[in-house]
């Protein structure tokens, strides 16, 4: 069927983007002034090590060849070695993946849980007091710096009320979720402001749609029409918005993990930047970019399944 061709074609369309991502990641390390081998090895470089790096990355060859070699390494899953952790970058990434993934999932879940009722309430009482209050709160929410909000929540919930730990990450699943609650809440409060505003206007637009009256004229209750007809139609554009915001969340994880001391990819990136651990910087950036592309692809596919009108 027509719409399922999308599943095959959409990934193909992404190929130029993937090349672009790899090229930028490649340029990233090469753009640092000085001998790349010296840059990669840091200050404690021995002549043997320098020679090995030169051979491995083909640094004597022209730049395009170096890029091709870089791509080959990528396909083999070789992202270089961390000079600080003395391990393979890929292993390092996989180790740090879990906290970040849990943080992002938790934040998305929490923000949807916040945005759905708020947007519904605002849309159904349009122009009323609740709508204005929600509008004011979400406008303020857009201006909240997540790092500061996180610290304020720590002061309130962890230090004053002693409900949650100040920072860190636990060992068992329960402990991890316990530690991740405030970080997720921090991100969710910012994210839900965006989601609530968009969902509210989508809901209001759909509530004015002709199919609403048609369903009323068939004897359906307003409540039923709202949930069965209006909501799905309003959700379609929100899915892509959510995907865009997952990309924002990935960036946000760098900041929020620093605030709460969560040992995830974001914190790894910041530490690597400060310690000039360039292979790790490159690895994390590459990984984040690929995840963003993947999330957007998933959103596209989901949208196609929900809305039969969308064609490739």
């Amino acid at each position: 069927m027509h719409r399922y061709r999308f599943l095959l074609l959409r990934p193909l369309q992404l190929i130029p983007v993937l090349f672009g991502i790899s090229a930028i990641s490649f340029v990233l390390v090469r753009a640092i002034p000085g001998d790349p081998a010296r840059v990669l090895l840091g200050t404690r470089s021995t002549p043997e090590a320098l020679a090995r790096i030169h051979a491995e990355y083909g640094l004597d060859q022209p730049l395009p060849m170096q890029y091709l070699l870089f791509l080959k390494h990528l396909f083999d899953g070789e992202l270089g070695r961390s000079i600080i952790y003395k391990t393979d970058t890929l292993t390092l990434l996989l180790e740090r993946l879990e906290p970040t993934a849990m943080f992002i999932l938790g934040s998305v879940l929490l923000s949807v849980l916040l945005a759905l009722p708020l947007a519904t309430w605002a849309a159904r009482s349009r122009g009323g007091v609740a709508d204005h209050v929600i509008r004011l709160l979400t406008t303020a929410g857009l201006g909240l710096p997540p790092f500061w909000l996180g610290i304020m929540l720590i002061i309130l919930l962890s230090i004053t009320w002693r409900l949650f730990p100040v920072s860190g990450y636990g060992d068992s699943l329960g402990e991890k979720l316990y530690h991740l609650f405030i970080p997720c809440l921090t991100a969710a409060l910012s994210l839900s402001a965006v989601l609530t505003r968009s969902l509210r206007s989508a809901l209001i637009r759909e509530m004015r749609a002709d199919y609403f009256v048609a369903a009323l004229a068939r004897g359906q209750s307003e409540r039923y029409i709202f949930w069965r007809h209006v909501m799905p139609n309003a959700i379609v554009p929100i899915i892509n918005l959510l995907a865009v915001n997952v990309s924002w969340l990935i960036g946000g994880s760098v900041v929020i993990e620093s605030v709460f001391g969560i040992p995830g990819l974001g914190q790894l990136l910041i530490k690597a930047i400060f310690s000039r651990d360039y292979m790790v910087v490159q690895g994390v950036v590459l990984f984040f970019a690929l995840s963003t592309v993947l999330v957007n692809l998933l959103a596209d596919i989901l949208t196609v399944f929900i809305d039969p009108r969308i064609k490739l």
Partner: protein, 332 residues
């Protein structure tokens, strides 16, 4: 036959106190097709929306009249009773099926939701009933079309699908709001034939809202002509077309393109534009555009009265075009 639906002196008023629909009365017999004809703003759609209480809340209010349906006054139903009546008692189809059908749901799903609302049915029963409904409205290969979405249909098929969805509620009265305006002429005729068949075979009563007298001539038993929110003439279709009693009706007939085929003259129009709600003229609302208007028309509102009692031909005009009536009026 006693009427199924009687609208008596229905009046709809804006917040500013303007009567958009003023004392409109008509009735509908079982199995009858009644045309409501008028220009934009004549109040024909508002009148029908009011029957189902689908007027914009707050902006417009029903300030007078009765609507009797099956022994109940529709204007005094509780919201719950009104919900039960919508669709099942009085159903409605619209001009633009592509926006009035939910684009994300299949046609089958939208029929199923009405079927489920009105009785416990198994999945199989719902499917069988839906297939027969699609057959009834003349959609080919209904089994497959059940799982199609609105955008996969052509314009005419989409209108048929909307009719099928409305029929899933098994209405006794169907309000068809300009159902053919957006369609090609050939498709238009098919849809009209379909509606005509529905009332002949299933005894459905239909109110056909249209601005096109041609549509009325093809299908309706009786016609009510509205102007500026008031009824100006109501009569059996043949009577009205042959012996219009109201100058406005005469004008409308003259405006029909095919009416001029024999006349060979230029296409006639009614001079001026229909009045807006803010500037309704006093007296007869048509008098500024009426070629036969006299002084009385400017000040006194004409009442609806019989032209010919036995045929139910009624008109609201001080100087109707039928001679016989003139003499009768002069006695007053």
């Amino acid at each position: 036959m006693s009427p199924l639906l009687t609208v008596d002196s229905l009046t709809i008023t804006t917040r500013a106190g303007l009567n958009l629909v003023d004392q409109v009365s008509f009735s509908l017999a079982p199995g009858e097709m009644l045309g409501l004809v008028g220009e934009s703003g004549s109040g024909k759609t508002l009148t029908c929306r009011a029957l189902l209480q689908l007027l914009p809340e707050g902006a417009l209010q029903i300030t007078g009249g009765r609507v009797d349906f099956d022994g109940r006054d529709l204007l005094r139903l509780s919201p719950r009773e009104m919900r039960q009546l919508r669709g099942a008692g009085v159903g409605m189809i619209f001009q633009n099926p592509s926006t009035h059908i939910n684009p994300l749901m299949t046609i089958g799903q939208q029929m199923a939701e009405s079927l489920r609302l009105r009785g416990r049915l198994s999945r199989k029963e719902i499917r069988a009933r839906s297939v027969s409904l699609l057959e009834q409205v003349g959609i080919p290969s209904p089994e497959q079309r059940l799982d199609s979405h609105a955008h996969e249909f052509s314009g005419g098929m989409r209108q048929r699908a909307m009719i099928a969805i409305a029929l899933a509620c098994s209405p006794r009265v169907l309000i068809a709001d300009e159902p053919t305006t957006a369609l090609d002429v050939t498709v238009q005729a098919q849809i009209l034939k379909l509606l005509d068949g529905l009332r002949r075979e299933h005894g459905l009563s239909i109110i056909m809202i249209t601005h096109d007298l041609g549509v009325v001539a093809q299908t309706c038993d009786r016609v009510a002509v509205l102007y500026g929110g008031r009824i100006c003439e109501i009569a059996a279709t043949a009577d009205l077309l042959k012996h219009p009693a109201h100058p406005y009706t005469r004008g409308l007939i003259a405006c029909q393109p095919h009416a001029n085929v024999n006349a060979q003259g230029p296409l006639t129009t009614i001079a001026g534009a229909p009045p807006t709600a803010e500037e309704m003229p006093a007296g007869c609302r048509f008098h500024p555009r009426c070629p036969d208007a006299q002084r009385r028309c400017q000040t006194r509102q004409p009442v609806v009265h019989d032209v010919a009692q036995e045929s139910g031909h009624r008109v609201a005009c001080h100087y109707p075009l039928q001679r016989l009536i003139h003499r009768e009026l002069d006695h007053e």
